[in-house]
């Protein structure tokens, strides 16, 4: 497997939530790099900051402190509208709760990122169809999410995540709401996508699926604890200079 340059680089990232007289240090001193083509997973107990980390990487939220480079460019100081554009063009999300829009059909859900990206209708149709074929859901195009099983919904979500050919797929416990058969199938799908060249960062706390990833980042209480990963990341940083 070919491993490229640092697609994602976080340096000294902190995230503090301020709520009703309480400060939660969700992430502390995070230095992290993800290379192009990598399939990485974040593991750790509940509440350790996994989702927060993914939100920051996905530009759904901003760090309290620290720098973030995506594909070599700093994305720390973008306006909300620029951030929306980056999300639309470069990032695909798969959520634990599927997060399909109930009022839209399967096809319309998949098409949505392309609409926001200003893609023309013909191209949209083609790309959406292709994405649905990739996840094996093209026969359910006109169904509504409520008419699908959990596994099917997650496959649709995956199709929506990849439809715009993003730089990276972010998956937050994609199997969390699925039974083991469906979970297995979704993991298989991620592996296939990875095999086709997608960079994937996945959160899971289910050790069963750890094996799918090439690299595991351990998170504990908002800090990366896995030395191996850190060393690896540092090594890579030196190599790329």
């Amino acid at each position: 497997m070919e491993q490229g340059n640092a697609l994602i680089r976080l340096e000294g990232v902190n995230k503090i939530f301020y709520t009703e007289e309480m400060e939660t240090h969700a992430l502390s001193d995070i230095d992290l790099q993800i290379r192009d083509g990598e399939f990485a997973e974040v593991m750790g107990p509940s509440g350790c900051g996994k989702s927060t980390l993914l939100s920051l990487i996905g530009l759904l939220d901003t760090p309290t402190e620290g720098g973030y480079w995506l594909n070599g460019e700093s994305v720390s100081d973008l306006s909300p509208s620029e951030r929306a554009e980056v999300r639309n063009r470069h990032i695909g999300f798969i959520f634990q709760a599927f997060n399909l829009i109930g009022d839209l059909t399967v096809f319309e859900n998949v098409e949505l990122p392309l609409i926001y990206g200003g893609v023309d209708a013909g191209t949209r149709r083609e790309a959406s169809q292709r994405a649905l074929e990739r996840v094996g859901m093209s026969h359910r195009m006109d169904h509504y999410p409520s008419q699908l099983s959990g596994g099917q919904r997650q496959r649709v979500a995956a199709a929506r995540a990849v439809v715009g050919d993003p730089l990276i797929l972010l998956a937050d416990e994609p199997t969390g709401n699925l039974d083991s058969t469906n979970g297995e199938a979704v993991m298989q799908l991620l592996r296939d996508l990875h095999a086709e060249g997608s960079t994937i960062l996945m959160v899971t706390h289910d050790p069963r699926y750890s094996a799918y990833a090439e690299r595991t980042i351990h998170l504990f209480d908002g800090r990366i604890t896995d030395e191996e990963a850190e060393i690896e990341a540092l090594g890579l940083a030196q190599a790329s200079v």
């Binding site: 759904l60 929306a84 063009r89 959520f95 997060n99 109930g102 926001y116």
Partner: protein, 812 residues
């Protein structure tokens, strides 16, 4: 009962727990109930209170109608009166009344002007009222030649006679004639409409021919057990017989018997009152819709509580009751505040109508019936606002609610539909009300800025009445008018003066006439136009130019050729060649045919049709007081152009008059501006009411839309989060969040326009020179509502679009 008290207690606790919701709900209820109560008090006073007498429902009016001659409520001749009185079997007693002004000179020798009435001697008996002092009239006092007696009102007794019991037996001068006071009516008694004193109506049919002579409205009291229908049939039979027996005088006339107070509220006013009540109820419904939407929002939040309640065994009925009582607590508080608003509204309304007092039985206040109405309105409002949300909160499957996992698309959708319908309805009703308000605003603005075709600034006006005893004939009156006018014109501070039968803004009466050389096949074909009887100086005083020919001159006397001035519309309507000067026409009213008059001048249209009578022709003519004093009668209006403040003129005019005849009171002294305000009070008062409805509706609808939009957007926060994650930008999200609201707004506006189009007819009578379908108003309201609606949905949409996507995704 225990349960009920617990429910109320819990309701109050919930109310305190969400103070914002409670406050909004109370304000919405209060405004709605307040306006409804105000309008109902008006309707109640005008239509439901009736006469304040014992068993007053049984007091009826008797009129004669003649559809052929377009007589809707004509009086009864003395001949007919005697026949009806003696032959009917349905009334305990039957009498007549007539209104008239009275110049009273009391102990202080100062002449004063009062409203008086002549009534048949049985008035008190029919009304079942007893005088507080002295006695009522005796039957023989209505005979010709009887001793002149009178009864005075309680108020006059107090003010003019210091409430002294000595007043009985006192002789005073009324309209120049001595009369002996024999009784004092009870406080507040002003029958038939606004009378301060009463004299017997002389019943002497033989004085006139059958088809001539005065006609008076009849009144009587139904015998026990006799219905209105039976009395009508009874009178109709007599009427038919009279028609057969005396066709020349009675052909086409038939009697109607109706509840006494009915004649004061015409069909149009009746329709207007109920349109107003409908409008107020519309505001209340908007308030209810607001509260319902708030409750829907809360129902979603309280699903768990409701589920727990039912899990421990509450029946659905009990939970619904609990939820309804919570709303009831809110509506009860709102209703109480609403009654306070009603009290304030009545104070305003009474002040507004003070210059034109309504008939004495119409008193506008918060009585028991109004309180009952307010209570009912509060109760119904609570049910209207609370029932749907309560049913909705309780219809979710127990498991579903407790697990809360099924992010419900099905129940969410159903709720969406009801909320949607409520929003649409709310927009529709406020759109209708706003259009009404818009029309009123234009109408009132029009009244303020209208260019009257005559001078208004620095014009003093007043009226005076010459008693027949002192001025028995036309000659005596003409002499007086001439003398008085000459003195007026030389009074310092007065530039020009005139005497006339009426004032420009007040409108002139209609008269039937014929144009020389035109054939009128039947009596009905004679045209009618407005008639003004004026002295020289009329047009100079009101600064209206004589467009062609000449104005009246002092030489236009009874000895010379009768002349007339006509207005522009008259020329247009009656002279095909467009030339007025030199044409001749004459008054031809039934048997009264006067001499031919020659048109000597053409003047502008001076609103002879009156202000606001848009649908009536402004065509009219003027004749000279000196030549037609007989028609003019003994009441004239004074008009004077002053060099200074017209308000200061009253005293001087009074002096001028007193020098001529100390017994004559000057009354209704006011500036021309006041005359116009007076002539337009109706538009202003009801216009203001509708404006209040409109703005309250707009306010409530804006608050409601905002609430619904906030809620619906917050319900969709998660979806917004998903869309953000997928890269939707802010403007796109805002548009998305607003789309549903804007669609509801559009549908609501369309329905509202239809609603307003339905209400145009009753509204027309309070619109001053505004078409009830004015496209500018309709367009303006649509724009305004769309704007307010857009803002109300933009603010919550923008708020949600600004939150961090990560946060939005976590919600729900």
């Amino acid at each position: 009962m225990d349960g009920f008290i617990n429910d109320v207690k819990f309701g109050i606790r919930m109310l305190i727990k969400s103070p914002v919701l409670s406050l909004i709900a109370i304000v919405a209820f209060a405004l709605g109930i307040g306006l409804t109560t105000t309008v109902f008090s008006i309707v109640n006073g005008a239509m439901y209170k009736g006469l304040p007498f014992d068993d007053a429902d049984r007091v009826v009016s008797v009129w004669r109608v003649n559809p052929e001659r377009e007589i809707e409520r004509g009086g009864v001749t003395l001949y007919d009166y005697v026949e009806y009185r003696d032959q009917n079997s349905s009334l305990e007693a039957f009498g007549l009344w007539s209104n008239g002004a009275v110049n009273l000179v009391g102990a202080d020798d100062k002449p004063e002007r009062y409203q008086g009435a002549r009534v048949t001697a049985n008035m008190f008996e029919i009304l079942r009222v007893a005088p507080v002092l002295g006695r009522g009239f005796l039957p023989e006092e209505e005979e010709p030649g009887a001793e002149p007696v009178m009864i005075i009102g309680y108020e006059v007794w107090q003010e003019k006679f210091d409430g002294s019991p000595e007043v009985i037996g006192r002789t005073v001068r009324t309209n120049g004639e001595p009369r002996t006071i024999v009784g004092v009516a009870p406080e507040g008694f002003k029958f038939p409409i606004e009378a301060d004193m009463w004299a017997p109506l002389e019943v002497n049919p033989l004085e006139h021919d059958r088809d001539d002579g005065p006609q008076f409205p009849g009144f009587g009291r139904l015998k026990p057990g006799v219905s209105l229908d039976r009395a009508s049939a009874d009178f109709a039979t007599i009427g038919l017989r009279l028609e057969a027996e005396y066709p020349e005088s009675n052909e086409g006339f038939s009697p109607i018997v109706e509840p006494f107070t009915k004649f004061t509220i015409g069909n149009e006013l009746h329709a207007l009152l109920f349109t107003m009540l409908g409008a107020a109820i519309g505001v209340l419904l908007i308030g209810c819709a607001n509260v319902a939407n708030l409750l829907f929002a809360r129902a979603a939040v309280r699903e768990k509580e409701v589920a727990v309640r039912s899990a421990i065994g509450a029946k659905r009925k009990q939970i619904v009751r609990q939820l309804l009582i919570e709303v009831g607590v809110l509506s009860a508080i709102g209703g109480a505040v609403g009654v306070l608003i009603g009290i304030a509204g009545m104070a305003w309304f009474n002040r507004a109508v003070a210059t034109n007092p309504p008939p004495f039985w119409m008193t506008f206040d918060i009585d028991g019936r109004v309180l009952l109405f307010a209570t009912l309105a509060s109760g119904l409002a609570a049910v209207a606002a609370g029932l749907f949300p309560a049913l909705r909160a309780t219809d979710k499957g127990l498991n579903e609610a407790l697990n809360d996992e099924g992010r419900g698309s099905s129940s969410g959708l159903r709720m969406g539909r009801v909320t949607s319908a409520i929003v649409i309805g709310e927009v529709a009703v406020s759109c209708g009300l706003l259009i009404a308000a818009g029309l009123m605003i234009k109408s009132v603005a029009q009244l303020r800025t209208i260019d009257m075709p005559f001078a208004i600034e620095n014009i003093f006006t007043a009226r005076l009445n010459l008693p027949e005893t002192d001025y028995p004939d036309a000659d005596a009156r003409t002499d007086f008018y001439r003398e008085f006018l000459q003195r007026l014109q030389t009074t310092p501070g007065i530039e020009a003066a005139t005497l006339s039968d009426g004032l420009p803004a007040r409108g002139n009466g209609l008269r039937t006439f014929e144009i020389e050389g035109v054939d009128y096949p039947t009596e009905r074909d004679y045209p009618r136009a407005r008639e003004g009887i004026v002295t020289p100086g009329y047009f100079a005083t009101f600064q209206a130019p004589v467009l062609e020919g000449r104005p009246f001159e002092f030489a236009d006397t009874g000895d010379n050729l009768p002349v007339a001035l006509v207005n522009r519309s008259f020329v247009r309507e009656y002279f095909e060649d467009g030339v007025g000067i030199g044409k001749r026409f004459r008054i031809h009213q039934g048997n009264d045919v006067y001499d031919w008059m020659t048109v000597v001048g053409v003047v502008p249209d001076m609103k002879m049709e009156g202000i606001g009578n848009n649908d009536q022709s402004p065509a009219g003519y003027y004749i000279a007081v000196d030549q037609f004093a007989e028609i003019l009668g003994n009441t004239v209006s004074v008009g004077a152009r002053t060099t200074g403040d017209p308000g200061a003129m009253a005293a001087r005019v009074r002096e001028t008059l007193a020098a001529l005849d100390p017994n004559l009171p000057v009354y209704d002294a006011m500036s021309m501006q006041a005359v116009i305000d007076d002539a337009t009070w109706f538009y202003r008062v009801f216009g203001t009411l509708f404006m209040t409805f409109g703005f309250t509706a707009l306010f409530l609808a804006a608050v409601g839309l905002y609430g619904v939009m906030s809620f619906s957007v917050s319900q969709r926060r998660r979806e917004m989060g998903i869309r953000m994650a997928l890269g939707a930008k802010e403007d796109r999200l805002i548009r998305f969040a607003m789309r549903r609201g804007m669609r509801q707004l559009a549908i609501g506006i369309v329905i509202g326009i239809a609603l307003a189009a339905l209400a145009t007819k009753p509204l027309q009578i309070i619109l001053y020179e505004v078409d009830a379908r004015d496209p500018v108003i309709f367009g303006g309201v649509v724009l305004a509502l769309a704007l307010v609606g857009a803002i109300a949905s933009y603010i919550p949409a923008r708020r949600v679009s600004r939150i961090h996507p990560a946060e939005a995704l976590q919600s729900g």
